[in-house]
């Protein structure tokens, strides 16, 4: 695979930056453009680039499909669990006001946790879809 030298060097340099940008979009989502969906897609793009350059086998050593399935459902659990937590604290489902000391602080906490759940699910589902498309000709 020596003919991919430039591509490999540049993607080694770019993948951490892509992940950093994904986290920026994730946690900047309540102040500016961004949020869980976009951040999840950008995060998965880093792994898709890695898979394209280094191959599916070495990518599946980093994140196995089993772990991805667990992460995909973990994001849904975080989302729904936030709603259940606000139910247990005596408000409506997904009413963030009771999650913090003041309603505004509670809304900040609530939207961050919700977007974290969305981001985890979107990223792992995107990588899973790419894995299953890329592994079609294996069997």
């Amino acid at each position: 695979m020596s003919h991919n030298l430039i591509l490999r060097i540049i993607s080694k340099f770019l993948i951490p930056l892509i992940i950093l940008f994904a986290f920026y979009v994730q946690f900047h989502g309540d102040f500016g453009p961004g949020g869980g969906f976009q951040a999840g897609v950008i995060f998965s793009v880093a792994f898709i680039l890695y898979t394209l350059v280094f191959g599916l086998d070495s990518a599946e050593k980093i994140i196995t499909p089993v772990v991805l399935r667990i992460l995909a459902s973990l994001g849904v659990v975080i989302y729904a669990g936030t709603g259940v937590a606000s139910l247990l604290l005596g408000a409506n489902y997904l009413d963030y006001d009771v999650l913090g000391k003041t309603p505004v602080a509670g809304q900040h906490v609530g939207i961050l946790v919700i977007e974290l759940g969305v981001g985890i699910t979107v990223a792992s589902v995107m990588i899973l879809i790419f894995y299953s498309f890329a592994g079609r000709d294996r069997d």
Binding site: N4, I6, L7, I10, F13, L14, L17
Partner: protein, 98 residues
């Protein structure tokens, strides 16, 4: 001073836009894959760079111009790599340059 900055930044913006149009014409009119890639790759880097410099002059020393610098470095590395890997893939799949 402000007027000079405005004029220079618009010169950069217009030159960048012109290069983009030239690149588009080149992609459309050149005969084969490699010369089309040449038109796209050469104009792409300089066109985006000039437009970003012009926009940076418009926005001054703010957070926006720092983000423009980051976009510039991103493009400086990714755009030639994309062109290289396209031509590399074409050469390895057997497309001979004429």
């Amino acid at each position: 001073m402000n007027l000079v900055l405005d004029i220079v930044s618009w010169i950069f913006l217009c030159t960048g836009g012109l290069l983009g149009i030239i690149g588009g014409i080149g992609i459309h009119r050149f005969p084969d894959f490699y010369s089309r890639l040449h038109a796209a790759g050469i104009t792409d880097t300089l066109c985006a760079g000039l437009i970003l410099i012009g926009l940076g002059m418009q926005s001054g020393l703010t957070l926006a111009s720092f983000k423009l610098v980051l976009i510039f470095f991103m493009l400086l590395f990714t755009s030639p790599t994309a062109t290289h890997s396209l031509s590399n893939a074409a050469l390895h799949s057997g497309l001979k340059p004429r």
